[in-house]
Amino acid sequence: MPAMWHSTFILVMVLLAISRPSLASQARTEESQGTGNATEHTITTLPIVIWKWEEIHFPYLVALWVLVSWLCKLVFQQNPCLTSVIPESGLLICIGWVLGGIIYGADKVQTFRLQPFTFFFYLLPQIVLDAGYSMPNKLFFGNLGAILVYAVIGTCWNAATLGLALWGCWLGGAMGDIDTGLLQLLLFGSLIAAVDPVAVIAVFEEVHVNEVLYILVFGESLLNDGVTVVLFNVFNAFVSLGGAQIDAVEIIKGIISFFVVAVGGSLVGVVFALLITLLTRCTKNIQIIEPGFIFVLGYLSYLTAEMLSLSAILSCTFCGVCCQKYINANMDERSVSTVRYTMKVFANGSETIIFVFLGISAIDPSIWVWNTAFILLTLLFIFVFRFIGVFLLTWILNQYRLVPLDFIDQVVMGYGGLRGAVAYGLVLLLDENTYKEKKLMVSTTFIVVYFTVMLQGITMKPLVTWLKVKRAAVAERTLAEKLQNRTFDHMLVAIEDISGQIGDNYMRDKWNNFEEKWLYWLLMTPFARKSCDPIFNIFHKLNIKDATSYVKEGERRGSLAFVRNESKADVDFNKKFDADFSEMMPYIMTENMGPDHVPVSSILRDSVPSVCLDMHEQDLKMRESEDFDAHHVLQQHLYKGRKQHRHRYSQKHLEVSKDEHEVQEIFQRTMRSRLESFKSAKMGVAPPKISKHLKKDQPQKMPNGKSTENSKSHAYGDEDVEFSEGDSASGCEAAGSSFPMRAYRGAGIVNPAFMAEMDTMDPMPPMQQIPSWLAEAEVDSSTVAPSQRAQLRLPWTPSNLRRLAPLRLSTHSNDSFLLADSPATQEGISEPPPPPPPQDGQGRGTHK
């Protein structure tokens, strides 16, 4: 602990050092402004350096403050033992006090304070947008009813009861002599009634309560803004009108305005969400600023709603909630993570700033008016009525909920009613002429915010532990789980159908169907439609993970062994392919879908198994005899090949969307060229294209028996000639397509690295996806070539590429699935398949 405080102290000193000059200059700014202009005109000589503080002081101060706030956060995060006790928001407020004290001590006046305008227009929007964007949609909409009840009725209840109770106490004379009235107190109640999203996020993020509880508190805090804004505006107007002029019409107007503000705000959000989504459909070519659109339009949705005097927070929330699914699918993966991170940077950053400034703003004697009774009663009422409200509403909701909220959940919900910066921002908006007790209200708001954020925030975690609140399961969703989930959903729908009801599941199913049928078509790019499926996504992620682990494993070993055993090469390429050619794939895929489509590539595909076979044999028998340098091979072929391909791709980049045939043509040509160089390498007919990698082929040929002599006599002296794919592509295109590839089967060559690449490029034969435990069985079932061919004609999907080899995680499986291919490919040379390695025996029992 002492060390920690020490470091904190040092930081404060540093901060002081940073901020002192700026503060001092800030104070001087006004004075010097007038003279500054005068001096500039009267220069007599060329100044080398000019002190231009006046011109840049504003952005400079802003940047400094951002830096200071974030440094505070940094310090706290360095001390996990501290943040585990006190929530970060509380700590930030504390540091705000310290900083505020320093500033006040220096300037004798509070120079900096959080202005409502800054808060509402520069700090809040990104937090709300982030909240909406990262909202768990299914959970949110599943509990929307309950959330709305808490947000609307609960907030009204809080506001009304607090206002009335304070009014009662005031009438009873408990607060002494303060100049207020029922309406003013109701207004105060309404602005402080709303649970604050910023505070709730800050505290609940650290306490991992179960997801239903979290979404209820969190959703309430976001959605009650509509209510708060309306109540605030209505009461504000009422106070201005004066009690006498309020009649039934005005009250009805107030109620109507509630619906208009809330629903209108949400609608604005949905409209902007649509705009964003449609925009991301066509931002493929400007991926750099793609993420920017999300932020700008999200911000615009906030501003537009504010302009129309609708609920800006609701608008921004719904904008985020509605667009997240579609934009994540539409945008490039990199853009998605950019958006995600930037969103977090903004949200977290401004959250930090808000809390620091909540602390700083309080250190100003001029705003403090103390009225013990008023403040304490407010605290008490807020606390008590929140609990009463939660219990009451939950009791009503539980009558209808299938899974009732239990008592403990209710306690946490009640206790989680944190107030925060929104209340502070609203209370500052009050007009001091109308509200004589504005200062008291501001002070009370401060106390309430501090009380809820600090005390309740600190005690939240122990309380949750003590009550044994069901925690969130922090587990990565696995593919199997996702599949079960899907099955499960369909099952519930089916049971509802069978039992003849129209329940939640039924409605959700209908919505999903509608979404899939129309919204996907409207809002998503064709490629995104495929990848938006969550199951597919997980599958994809798994592939990437596998791929990464192969590469890591390979790099760890640092020898070529991994190229064959772990397929570093092809996996590596696969990743690249994945990233660079994802756009291209759907087209190729659809092209190959046609049943009668016998493209060159399908012939090429046949060559892959033979490659695999050879690799396999090599693996089996010649593993020890390899001694060439992995990196060299990789560099020479893989990298080149990849570069080459990318080059072609980028050349055609613009045409990709125009002409799918061309895309396929590119693909096929590349394939052909690869094949050609492969062929020539094997036959030794094209020495100029042979390069060093062939050296390693020699040992491989031996197991095949038939080409050992051959290979020795080949012109391998040309090792040093650079391998050039471009040449081979142009020169041997025709040969590639017309030459019967089957003749080469089992001829036994082959550069594993090169092949591996080919393997990736080429549609994976379905058999390669067979798990090891089935490998043996599959061998039995597919010894006939035509059947395999038929299989090969099955649609080739990107996933085939991605799921290169689902089983390579286990070290042996690579061998076994390669083995699986061997019989089919070997039939050309009528060699019986080599006996499967022992581990394949495991498959026999499995397969029924």
Partner: protein, 220 residues
């Protein structure tokens, strides 16, 4: 139309209510629905279920329908399927979808969980041998993803394989080369779904169903 029968079967319903935990009202509702599905016959056949129009869009309707005729789900310690089921069996299958009561003890909750998961497991384990083999798993996954349309059969197969491998990985840890994974047993199934709070999710609201306005709007 159920009114005349319900008078005679009052006692029977009470008995069923005691055994299944449904309320009399719910049993009455389900009975109404049952009669409607069977066209007032005593037993329900596969065709009756298959003819429900709303089920057409369900990718796993075959599995669901099978579940109703699976002896394992009928609380009988035997395996195999039956051709037709009576109301009691229908109700027994429905009990799997009853929401959990409040205030369950930890043990009861666990039992409920196992029971519900068992239903799900049985749906996958088509040959009732206690393991979901890859074949069985693939079948379900392919069916499941078939409606999506955008995911091809090959991909579905690959996904099934990947998921199976994942299960093998999580339940077995690292597998030795000469080891083989014969399929998902129920224990494995429990293990992979341990974060899946099925006991709070696998339920259907058995409302008062009005057979006349069925599927025309929410009754009650």
């Amino acid at each position: 139309m159920g009114a005349s029968q319900s008078a005679g079967t009052e006692h029977e319903f009470q008995d069923l209510a005691d055994r299944t935990g449904f309320s009399l009202e719910q049993i009455g509702n389900i009975n109404k629905r049952f009669r409607q599905l069977t066209n007032n016959e005593e037993t329900l056949s596969r065709e009756d279920l298959a003819s429900i129009p709303a089920l057409d869009n369900n990718p796993i309707r075959a599995q669901i329908i099978n579940a109703f005729f699976d002896k394992r789900n009928l609380h009988q310690n035997e395996t195999g399927t039956v051709q037709e089921i009576g109301f009691e069996e229908f109700l027994l299958v429905m009990t799997h979808f009853r929401p959990a009561a409040m205030g369950l003890t930890e043990e009861e909750r666990e039992n409920l969980r196992r029971e519900k998961l068992r239903f799900l497991f049985n749906m996958h384990d088509t040959d009732s041998d206690g393991t979901i083999t890859l074949e069985e798993y693939r079948w379900v996954v392919e069916e499941l993803l078939s409606k999506a349309g955008i995911i091809g059969q090959e991909t579905a197969k690959a996904i099934a394989d990947a998921a199976m491998l994942e299960v093998a990985g999580t339940t077995r840890g690292k597998m030795e080369p000469d080891e083989f994974y014969e399929g998902i047993t129920f224990e494995n199934f429990l293990q992979i779904l341990k974060t899946f709070d099925i006991e709070t999710r696998m339920h259907v609201r058995f409302l008062n169903m009005d057979t006349a306005t069925l599927r025309c709007g929410k009754s009650k």
